[in-house]
Symmetry: C3
Subunit: 359 residues, 3 copies
């Protein structure tokens, strides 16, 4: 089987779910839709019905109700195994920072996927869980991250969620970090949102020498969309040693053209299609085309950003492969590149770039 690497994803639920829970897992919304509106009546819902129904033995486009009945008949474990098998991933880089009690455990997940599973360590989560005082926040974080990332494929920052990407390029001073850590500890060690600590955590991630993934672009409404524009990162990116390990801008939409430019002019910057490629369904090829405007082809990575549902893995993979195929067929018909060029581009996006970036 040809290699197919999912460079950013999350674990799935260990258990069956009802329609309401399924719908909630198919949207970035966290509140019920108004009467008459369904979150599965959109591109992602169409894509789930298109790609996942056949995997469970139903005709494509089966109604959601039928699909969920069939899924329930399989049971979550068999459904997950079947859908993951259909996705055909050979390697997964799993962000372990979303730790709900109802997620499948690592070992079971790897078995169900039939793929190598490596870890992406979420920086902010490590900081929130560690034990320290104000004065040793920085040193404890460095040590804890060092220990926690042994064997990890990458680290990830969600500063876009906690503050936004409009960050000054300087590292906070030791005194600033101690002061901010003191306030955070006195405040009860809650969810980290202090800008100084978040920037310090980000730089601590940089210092690890691992690939660094950054959430950019859309997500749920906890983030301010305008502050998730990756172009805001430009001063920070300019402050980095240009020869360090890759910086991967995740998602990017609707600012993916800005991200493509960053990938062209900053040697370390790469872009990742995750979340966007699945959620947009049939529109995936349109947006993939936009990703492939300014970004060098060696800097575009595939991931699903799947979470909770194995369906999101399958949809991400299928829509990526299908969209890329359509795009390349169109370019070939236009005589814009040779067959060999098209094959090489496909190989890079599918696994070659991920292998180079994540080892």
């Amino acid at each position: 089987m040809a290699a197919l690497i999912d460079a950013h994803c999350h674990r799935v639920l260990a258990g069956d779910l009802d329609r309401a829970a399924f719908e909630r897992a198919c949207t970035e919304a966290d509140l019920p839709a108004p009467a008459g509106v369904s979150y599965v009546d959109g591109q992602l819902g169409l894509a789930v019905r298109r790609w996942c129904s056949p995997a469970l033995g139903l005709p494509a486009h089966a109604p959601v109700k039928e699909y969920l009945e069939r899924r329930a008949a399989y049971g979550w474990r068999a459904a997950t195994g079947t859908l993951m098998h259909a996705a055909g991933l050979t390697e997964l880089l799993v962000d372990t920072g979303l730790d709900r009690a109802d997620l499948v455990d690592d070992r079971t997940f790897a078995q169900l996927c039939g793929a190598r599973v490596r870890e992406v360590v979420r920086l902010e989560r490590v900081a929130e869980l560690m034990d320290c005082g104000a004065g040793d926040f920085a040193s404890t974080l460095a040590e804890t991250l060092h220990a926690r990332t042994r064997g990890a494929a990458a680290v990830k920052s969600i500063i876009a969620y906690r503050h936004g990407l409009h960050i000054p390029p300087e590292r906070p001073s030791a005194a600033e970090v101690t002061r901010a850590a003191g306030e955070w500890l006195r405040g009860g060690r809650g969810r980290l949102t202090d800008p100084v600590l978040l920037r310090h955590i980000l730089w601590s991630g940089v210092d690890l020498g691992l690939p660094l993934q950054l959430h950019t672009g859309f997500g749920d409404r906890v983030l301010a969309l305008r502050h998730a524009d990756p172009a805001l990162l430009q001063p920070f990116l300019a402050a980095l040693d240009p020869n360090g390990p890759p910086i991967v801008l995740l998602h990017c939409y609707p600012y993916h053209r800005q991200a493509g430019w960053l990938a062209q002019v900053f040697p370390r910057v790469h872009v990742d299609l995750g979340l966007t490629i699945g959620h947009l369904g049939v529109r995936g090829d349109a947006v993939l085309g936009e990703f492939l405007e300014l970004a060098p082809f060696g800097k575009v990575l595939f991931s699903t950003d799947a979470y909770l549902l194995p369906e999101l893995y399958l949809v991400g993979v299928k829509q990526f492969r299908h969209g890329l195929r359509k795009l390349l067929d169109g370019w070939r018909a236009d005589d814009a590149l040779s067959a060999a060029d098209a094959a090489r581009l496909e190989e890079r996006l599918t696994s070659g770039n991920a292998r180079r970036v994540y080892g």
Copy 2:
């Protein structure tokens, strides 16, 4: 005849017009074009010649001069009736806030349209026309709006024009409103641009419990385009009770992808294609595809935002239907959805969503 609801539009001129006036009504520009440039030599002009010429018995793409001669031969009344009949709208929601003396009166307009006409009340206009002192600005506004919106389908805010969408999420305090109203009254009750009063007016609109339309995205040069990005509304949207009536983001372009995300994550938020779908002509399907990326299909509304010219009604309708048809045909050819899914989506965008939102 199948229902087709224009969820946001304006009245047309009652009278014939010359070429210069016709051209001015085909652009968002308010100043003459430089020598050698014509405002009808663009997408909207092409679309008018394509769709309206046959309605008046000319071949498609008739030159503007010929078209206007034919139009003059009909006379404005017959031309309006013919073009509106060709548009086939069954219901119009008319923003009555643009009150020029040369517009057709309500009753005549309804007759010429052969459609049910309902009102959209422009909030800022109501405030500007009411009689009050500083201390009773708030109470007078509440009473006046209550009376004025009896039977109205929706209210509308043009705060994007008067200030921009970068508004703090809090309601202004009563003292702030009184102070600001005092200044406005002392200044001669002119065009309302005070940020405190505009925010208060917006919240007064919210309090009515009616669907609330908001101008976002492009328009004429009185608005600052950057301040019309609907993503700027995020703090305001987050402050709303999630269970209230719909908030409809009008136009949105070129920030329609941002608007689609808002429609996904905020239960009340909907998006409307008006102005964009007509002005972009043959490019309408490209942009319609972008609208249909993140927005749930139940939250996308059709309108023409036509104003002054019945041509803009016909172009809006035709380009919407044609673009949607092309999009759905392409998706069907790609097997991205079933024929039933395509039909349901068309029904929603054409009338179903508007009926649910506006009653």
Copy 3:
């Protein structure tokens, strides 16, 4: 030969180059790509191999290595002549503000191009090279610009690079200019980045009564992408006499839809496809479609923004012609415009608009 005017470009290298130098000239990056990534493995590289290989007698899509060997066999002079001949430009407007010692001289360039060459004077460069004191900075600039632009086709500002497009609309006062000039002179007359002087230089350009080109949108990483959004210019554009000579927004991407709106509502504003149309290769037609949404067709200009390599001229021309052809064929197939409309649009973008704007 039908006229084809390149309304913004730069001179090419006078000499042969190795692969590393060729790759550096094919990207906006100024730092080496990471191991495993090549800057010619992207849209521009594909476009060079597609369009330039046949011009040098190789099959389309020849590998870069083969292409460069063939090019070396020609020698830079013959290769330049051959590629420029294939481009078929009849007139070039050359920005002379990038003055490296290794560029071809004006006369040789004109000979190799076989085209009329006119000058675009870079405002900031003129200011940096002139001899003056603080008190006569303004008067010396006015005189020098007057002399330097005799016979020039246009002037150009790179304030996007030196400061950003978020500029207050007012002219700086004489006292402010003298103060800022004094600081600049005391600082050693280096690269001009003072906001007051940059604004004064911009207004001095406006006062010349020549077409004014402005860098907007992407470029190299010296500019802050977010500050290159042409929508930031709105207050400045609103402060201009609407009847003056054209303002041309260059490049624009990824903010070209914003630029198209500015071109619709501000009489003087035009948009130019340069840099964007070449760097995006096969994606050029997608972006050209977006340029042609709100901008009146009489306000869209073609240029290559080629620099250093004659290949960038040929790619710019070919991709523009090919993309426009595809776009117009699609619109014709959709019956969106007549054959005569399509021909007229092509004539305008190819030369008619440039002739009107630049005389």
